[in-house]
Symmetry: C2
Subunit: 309 residues, 2 copies
């Protein structure tokens, strides 16, 4: 990581110690991005685990202690509690510090967090597009962000030095960095992540409800299609509840479009309109090719097989 | 493959030479399941490719020639043309031969194929639950069916010797084998495969339509959730058109349940009912665990990352 010959920040505080925070910690250590990393988690159990596995140089029993003297404070808590956490740490923030977050929704987080931050503290929201279906302090690994995108939310008010340093930091963690406006971010993510997750959750729930098909049948015969849905639907329930409650408008808009399209395909099936179906399915193939060409996935034929042996 | 110390069939004919047939061929060669394998594909281009890459011991220019003297005939064509192919080959079938297929829908295939088969020829429909998003004669590989399920469709009329030999054959290809009645198969697959595919196609289409989000944004930021959908939606359009047209009733039933559930979640989002969302998301996690325990997938955290480097 040539971008980080010296630490970008003297002290980084991670508030919340789940998958993202723990991956950031190991990534910072890999690349030498921070002089020291402090951490805080609300639950005693998580703090104990963090201390046991060496997650963070120091784990504190209060968020205020953790952020003291930090040059960068990263809020790694569910979107629904960002505001409360910001209010809690505000009095302890170092003047000139940068506060960022890793939430999947940005407009609501900005509305919730910004009012609490003192003048002279720079808020630069961020969203690393990376994750696994696992959660908790032991689920992190340094490579999580490698070659993934991290979106920084900026506008005309953004402190450029703070944003540029944060961009360097995320590149040091292995990410590609783009900047985007908050509302646009929320719409893009409603399409590429939030609505697909809701749909996957729904389909898995339907399977679970169907009395005539046993659970063991669903599980045994899930090789094709459904298995990818269960993987998505295994993600952290609290995180996803907060995503939908806090990106309500964009999610509902995309859901509306989705059901409209779905009804059109449903009608084509009912009416036996094979041309409509074939045309639709042909068109969607092209998008997949675009993703492979953009380097976000490989062409290896592992659909429905995963890493199963 | 101890199940196949000697070939189960003297001659096997593959009609249609796409992903499944080519994988069956390499799998038969791996395990020595057939004395000789003949093949036929409708397109000259596919036959030329098959001859070039050594797919099948002999490739014929007509289906009738290919099935002559075959002890097992495997129909590996889209579900919508199974009937026409059966009608074509019927006069050339060897007395006592077994005919099977690999279609994703079973009731309609039985209705389409059975009337054409002469007395003394045994029809045992099958459905290997395996695939990739690739298609064509060059996409096959011997390991495709390893540790996957193959469902044989049987009832009181089924010739037991024919069914038992076919089960041995599929085990020789690496599969686990279960038997099931046709209508139940179609319902189970509507849940585990057909409806999930339709939903994935729909979501990818919505993303493609949305003017305010550019295609390059969709492609770049598809790390989470959406990427799995595009993989599903890249599957063969003709095959999937035929699946939906031929498993109409079960697909429409499951789609109806899906939209009902989706509307309930949509309402919870609109009303800010976080408990409803959290409960739902928690319940779906359990199904994922069941799949991992059933050995159909691993617990490796690769969601949204695939084999990307």
């Amino acid at each position: 990581m040539s971008a980080a010959d010296q630490p970008i920040y003297g002290r980084v505080a991670l508030i919340g110690l789940g998958l993202i925070a723990s991956s950031m910690f190991w990534g910072m250590k890999r690349a030498g991005l921070a002089g020291e990393v402090t951490g805080y988690a609300r639950s005693q159990e998580t703090r104990d685990t963090a201390r046991k596995i060496g997650l963070c140089d120091q784990v504190f029993d209060s968020a205020q202690e953790a952020v003291k003297d930090a040059d960068l404070v990263v809020l790694c808590v569910p979107v629904g509690v960002m505001g409360a956490v910001a209010k809690d740490i505000a009095p302890a923030l170092k003047p000139g510090a940068t506060v960022t977050d890793v939430g999947s929704v940005k407009r609501q987080v900005i509305d919730d967090v910004s009012p609490h931050l003192p003048t002279g503290v720079h808020f630069v929201p961020a969203h690393p597009l990376a994750g696994t279906e696992h959660s908790g302090p032991e689920s992190g690994f340094a490579e999580l962000f490698d070659n993934r995108w991290c979106l920084l939310i900026t506008d005309a008010e953004t402190d450029r030095t703070a944003a540029d340093n944060l961009a360097r930091f995320w590149r040091g963690l292995g990410s590609n960095v783009d900047e985007m406006e908050a509302d646009h971010h929320d719409l893009v993510l409603a399409v590429t992540s939030h609505t697909p997750h809701l749909i996957a959750y729904t389909m898995v729930g339907v399977a679970d409800d169907l009395r005539r098909v046993s659970e063991s049948e669903v599980i045994k015969y899930s090789a094709s299609g459904f298995r990818d849905f269960t993987r998505i639907a295994a993600s952290d329930p609290t995180m996803w509840r907060d995503v939908f409650l806090n990106n309500k408008d964009a999610t509902l808009e995309i859901l509306g479009r989705f059901t409209e399209e779905l009804f059109a395909l449903q009608r084509a099936i009912r009416q036996g309109d094979g041309d409509h179906l074939h045309d639709y399915f042909t068109r969607t193939r092209a998008i997949r090719r675009g993703i492979i060409e953009a380097g976000q996935d490989t062409d290896a034929p592992d659909f429905g097989r995963g890493s199963a042996s």
